[in-house]
Subunit: 200 residues, 2 copies
């Protein structure tokens, strides 16, 4: 792995935040000072079930999957995160209860991370982050509701096509097996859909 | 139905908002002026699939269920809402795309409702609502994540007990059939769990 390019990482984070709020230079520096850098290798974990997550993560480079195991030990992927994505287990982060999730690197990955303590302070020292998180959570909720609803009312094939359309940049970075665990089908079924599509 | 008691309704709404933010009297009156009152009879709908929802609802009195139908026409209840609850289809409200949901009254119900236009203006005229909605959405996300995760990793019996513990005030106001459609089991299974519990 190369050295962590802090300057690019900070630029990406400020650009992400800049989509919803404006910060002056003092606020930008204050905000960046709340983060730590972390690098993990492919197949390593940021979080495992039973741990209480102390961090929220912003992906600077690489790819992660967030998943849990069902009663039969079968993995269910709840999200993939690549550059410019926020990730973590929000339920464990906000409630400080043990997580049920694995967060595993699919590639060598670099993240900026903010601790629960710093995150709680953030709203006091830069109140504009209320607006940032209102917007971020709003988007997350809409995604959640739409995905849950698609799971109820659409076929696996329709969900596969929605995934391709919504995340075209992801498809070559995740395995058939992980995509299957996201869609709730077998890898063989994903393979069949992929072949069907390539013949069109 | 009696006449709509605006004063009590407004007091309940201000109390709800007051859990997260403080408003002075001018702001309180401005905020309340953005809402309209609506009453619906038991079995009537606030929303049906295909409609674009223009409102967010605050329940003043009564009970509602939010549900959708799967590919086989089977209902899936996503939430129940009683007094002091916010409800609606957030995905349709925020994106102004057609809804997939029914919102049906389980009892004669009174709501205060805010239109998308007024809601958008709200953040300009009283910026403290960024903080209110950051907190409200945060809670919704945690609930969503926990419920999805319970659906994956817990048995129907465990989920039934969590429901009883989390919403003891709901259990006598909803039918066995609706509870089954919330838990994702048959009404007969809920009946069996109920009998099992009463024998303990």
């Amino acid at each position: 792995m190369n050295t962590f390019d802090s300057q690019s990482a900070h630029a990406l984070l400020l650009q992400n935040v800049g989509r919803f709020i404006e910060l002056d230079e003092t606020q930008q520096n204050l905000y960046l000072s709340l983060f730590k850098e972390k690098r993990i290798r492919r197949k390593d974990f940021l979080l495992q079930p039973g741990e209480i997550t102390r961090y929220e993560y912003f992906v600077v480079q690489g790819a992660l999957k967030v998943y849990t195991l069902d009663l039969h030990g079968k993995p269910h992927v709840s999200m993939f995160a690549i550059e410019d994505y926020w990730t973590g287990d929000m339920a464990s982060f906000l409630t400080q209860q043990p997580s049920s999730y694995f967060i595993e690197a699919l590639e060598d990955t670099e993240v900026l991370m903010i601790s629960k303590e710093n995150w709680d302070r953030l709203f006091q020292i830069i109140p504009a982050f209320e607006q940032f998180y209102r917007n971020l959570y709003q988007r997350s909720l809409v995604s959640y509701i739409q995905r849950t609803n698609q799971g109820i009312s659409l076929s696996a094939e329709e969900r596969y096509h929605i995934f391709l359309k919504k995340y075209p940049f992801l498809i070559n970075r995740i395995s058939q097996k992980d995509l299957a665990a996201y869609l709730g089908v077998t890898p063989e079924y994903v393979s069949m859909l992929r072949n069907k599509l390539s013949k069109k």
